[in-house]
C-alpha cells in the first residue's frame, strides 16, 4: 500500500490511515474504485459522460454537483444497479460487469438518498432482514454495533413508521454499516438531520475512514465536503474538476491577503505596489485592502513593514481563504458561461 501523506498501521485486517489520502489497495495493489471513461445514457439523454477517477482505500471522496448532474446515477452504476453505456470501472478490484454484480455488492454498501425503510417493521426487524441479505456473521452483534454507531440502540424496537425523518436517516446509515463494507456510498447522508445528529454522522465518517473504509460521499453541503473529504469532484454531466479542496482553491483563485487599517491610506498605491510577492491590490472597503500575493508568508511581513513605515495603524492582516462553495460556484458559473457561448 502506498500512501501519499500520513502514517499507516494495521488494525485487524484493515489498514488505518491517520493522515490523508491512501491511494492503493491493501492486498492486490488495486485502488478501491477505478473509473475510466464511464458514460451512461438513457435514450437521447446523457446522465453522465466520460468520467474517470480513482479512489484509494480509506479515502473520503466528495461528489458534488447541481441537481440532475448525474451524481446518483454514477452511484447506482458503480453499485451495479444500472449498467453503464460505455467505459469501464473496477469496484474493490472487481471489474464492473453484470456477472460480477453479486461479488461487488457483497463488498460495498449504498445508502440511497431516501432511507427506504419498511415502515411497518421495527428498526431491529429492518436491520435483521438486511444483515441476513448480506449474510453477516453473528447478525445480532452486528445489528447492535450498527445501532450504537448511530446512537439508536434504545430505539431498536420502535416501528420505523413512528420515527422522525432524521431518525429514519440514521437507521438507513446503520443498515449501510451492517455489511462491514470496503466501499460505502453515502447519498446525502445528513439531509434532514439536526446539527447534533449531523455532527455524529461526521464523527462516524471519520471513524470509518480510520478503519480504512473508502467513502463516496454525495452531498450538497459544501461545508460538509470541505470538513470531511480528502478529495472532491464536481460533476455536471461531465467531471468538471477533481482534487483536494486546497488544490482546487489554488487552481481557481489567486492567494489574497486582507489588510485592515484604522484609517484609509492616503496613497495606497504608493505603499502597496511593488512590494515583494505582492502581485496587485484593490480597495475592498473604507480601510480594507485585498492584496493578490504569490506567497502569503513572504508578503505579509513586507506589507506590515511598509504600512508601519507609511504611518498607518494596522488593525489586522490575514490570508483570505476561498471556501469550497466559492470553488463550486466558480466552476458551475464557468460551465454555464461556456454553455451559453
Amino acid at each position: 500500500m502506498r500512501e501519499i501523506k500520513g502514517l499507516t498501521r494495521r488494525f485487524g485486517d484493515r489498514f488505518v490511515t491517520s493522515g490523508r489520502v491512501a491511494v492503493s489497495d491493501r492486498k492486490s495493489g488495486a485502488p478501491a474504485l477505478s473509473v475510466h471513461g464511464l458514460s451512461k445514457r438513457f435514450g437521447d439523454r446523457v446522465a453522465f459522460q466520460d468520467i474517470s477517477f480513482e479512489l484509494g482505500h480509506g479515502e473520503v471522496f466528495g461528489f458534488l454537483g447541481p441537481n440532475g448532474a448525474g451524481k446518483t446515477t454514477v452511484v447506482r452504476t458503480l453499485g451495479t444497479l444500472i449498467a453503464p453505456t460505455s467505459g469501464s470501472a473496477t469496484v474493490v478490484g472487481i471489474p464492473l460487469t453484470p456477472e460480477n454484480g453479486v461479488a461487488i455488492r457483497r463488498r460495498i454498501a449504498i445508502m440511497p438518498e431516501s432511507p427506504g425503510l419498511y415502515l411497518r417493521l421495527s428498526v431491529a426487524e429492518n436491520l435483521e432482514c438486511f444483515a441476513d441479505l448480506y449474510q453477516a456473521p453473528d447478525p445480532t452483534d452486528r445489528i447492535g454495533r450498527a445501532l450504537r454507531a448511530v446512537d439508536l440502540a434504545d430505539r431498536a424496537g420502535d416501528a420505523c413508521g413512528a420515527l422522525s425523518k432524521g431518525l429514519r436517516q440514521r437507521v438507513a446509515l446503520a443498515r449501510a454499516l451492517l455489511s462491514d463494507p470496503q466501499v460505502l456510498f453515502l447519498d446525502e447522508p445528513t439531509a434532514g438531520l439536526d446539527p447534533v445528529a449531523t455532527h455524529d454522522v461526521h464523527q462516524l465518517i471519520d471513524e470509518l475512514r480510520r478503519r480504512g473504509v473508502t467513502i463516496f460521499l454525495t452531498t450538497h453541503r459544501l461545508e460538509e465536503a470541505e470538513r470531511l473529504c480528502d478529495r472532491v469532484a464536481v460533476l455536471d454531466t461531465t467531471l468538471r474538476t477533481i482534487g483536494r479542496p486546497d488544490e482546487l482553491r489554488e487552481r481557481l483563485f489567486a492567494k489574497t491577503l486582507t489588510v485592515r487599517t484604522l484609517l484609509p491610506l492616503p496613497e495606497p498605491g504608493r505603499v502597496l505596489a511593488g512590494l515583494p510577492a505582492v502581485d496587485g491590490w484593490r480597495q475592498d472597503g473604507r480601510a480594507v485592502y485585498a492584496l493578490a500575493v504569490s506567497d502569503p508568508a513572504a508578503a505579509a511581513p513586507a506589507v506590515i513593514r511598509a504600512l508601519v513605515k507609511a504611518g498607518a495603524d494596522v488593525l489586522s492582516i490575514s490570508e483570505s481563504r476561498h471556501s469550497l462553495e466559492d470553488v463550486y460556484l466558480e466552476l458551475i458559473n464557468q460551465h454555464e458561461e461556456a454553455n451559453r457561448r
Binding site: 447506482r76 444500472i82 453479486v102 432482514c129
Partner: protein, 240 residues
C-alpha cells in the same frame, strides 16, 4: 442457479411480517374467500334430501379451487410494485440478493398464507356442511377424491397465480393497476375450476394428472420468466 437459503429466508420473513401488519392485505385475504364460501353454503343448506342422488355425480367442492386461483393475485401484485411505490426496492437491490432469490422469496411468502387461507376456508366449508346440512346431502357432497384434488391443486393453482401477478407487478408502475390486472389474470383459472365443478369439463383422473403436470411446469417456468422480466435498471430509474 442454487438460491441462497439465508437470503431467501430474510425476504420471506420480512414479507410475512409486512403482510401481517398490512390491514388491506389481511382484509383482502379474509373477505374474498368468504365470497366464495357463502353462496355455495346457502345453496347446500337449502338442498332437500332428494337432491343427494344428483350431487354424488357432481364436483361442487372443486368450485372452491377458485380461492387459491384468485386470492394470491392481490397479494403477489404488491411484491414489486408495492416495494417500488414505498421506495424500499432500491435498498434491497443494493444487497447481494439475486433477482431469482428475491422473487422466489416473495412468491413463497405469498404462497404460504394463500394456501393456508384456502385450506382453512375449505375446512370451514366442510365443517359447516357436516354440522348443518342434511346428513344425506353432506355425504353425497364430500368425495375423498375431491378432498385430495383440493389438497394437491391449491398450492399449484396459487403458485401459478402468484407468478402471473408478480410478472405483472414487475412491469407495472402503479400498485393499484398491478392488483387489478393480476386479479383479471387469475380469472381464467377460476373459470376452468368452475367449469369442472359444474361438470362441463369432466373431472377424470387423467385430467387431474395432466393438469397437475402442466401446473408444475408452469410454476417452474413462471419463476424463470418472471426473473427474466425483472429489470433492475427499469425498476429503479423508470426508464427503458
Amino acid at each position: 442457479m442454487n438460491p441462497n437459503t439465508r437470503r431467501v429466508q430474510a425476504i420471506f420473513r420480512k414479507e410475512l411480517r409486512e403482510y401481517r401488519r398490512n390491514g388491506s392485505i389481511v382484509s383482502t385475504m379474509a373477505v374474498i374467500p368468504l365470497i366464495f364460501v357463502i353462496q355455495p353454503l346457502i345453496q347446500v343448506f337449502a338442498l332437500p334430501a332428494s337432491a343427494a342422488a344428483g350431487l354424488s355425480h357432481e364436483h361442487v367442492l372443486l368450485y372452491l379451487l377458485g380461492i387459491p386461483a384468485l386470492v394470491p393475485a392481490f397479494v403477489a401484485a404488491y411484491a414489486v410494485a408495492g416495494e417500488r411505490q414505498q421506495g424500499t426496492l432500491e435498498p434491497v437491490l443494493t444487497t447481494p440478493i439475486r433477482r431469482e432469490e428475491l422473487l422466489l422469496a416473495k412468491a413463497l411468502a405469498t404462497l404460504l398464507p394463500s394456501t393456508a387461507v384456502a385450506y382453512a376456508v375449505y375446512a370451514l366449508f366442510l365443517a359447516c356442511v357436516e354440522l348443518f346440512a342434511l346428513r344425506t346431502v353432506a355425504s353425497a357432497l364430500v368425495h375423498p377424491a375431491e378432498l385430495l384434488a383440493q389438497l394437491a391443486f391449491t398450492p399449484l393453482l396459487a403458485g401459478w397465480t402468484i407468478w402471473i401477478a408478480i410478472a405483472i407487478s414487475t412491469r407495472s408502475n402503479d400498485l393499484r393497476v398491478a392488483q387489478q390486472l393480476a386479479s383479471l389474470a387469475g380469472l381464467p383459472s377460476v373459470a376452468v375450476t368452475t367449469l369442472i365443478a359444474l361438470n362441463v369439463i369432466p373431472a377424470t383422473l387423467g385430467l387431474a394428472l395432466a393438469a397437475a403436470a402442466v401446473l408444475l411446469v408452469l410454476n417452474r417456468l413462471g419463476w424463470r420468466i418472471t426473473s427474466a422480466m425483472f429489470d433492475r435498471e427499469r425498476l429503479i430509474t423508470g426508464t427503458r
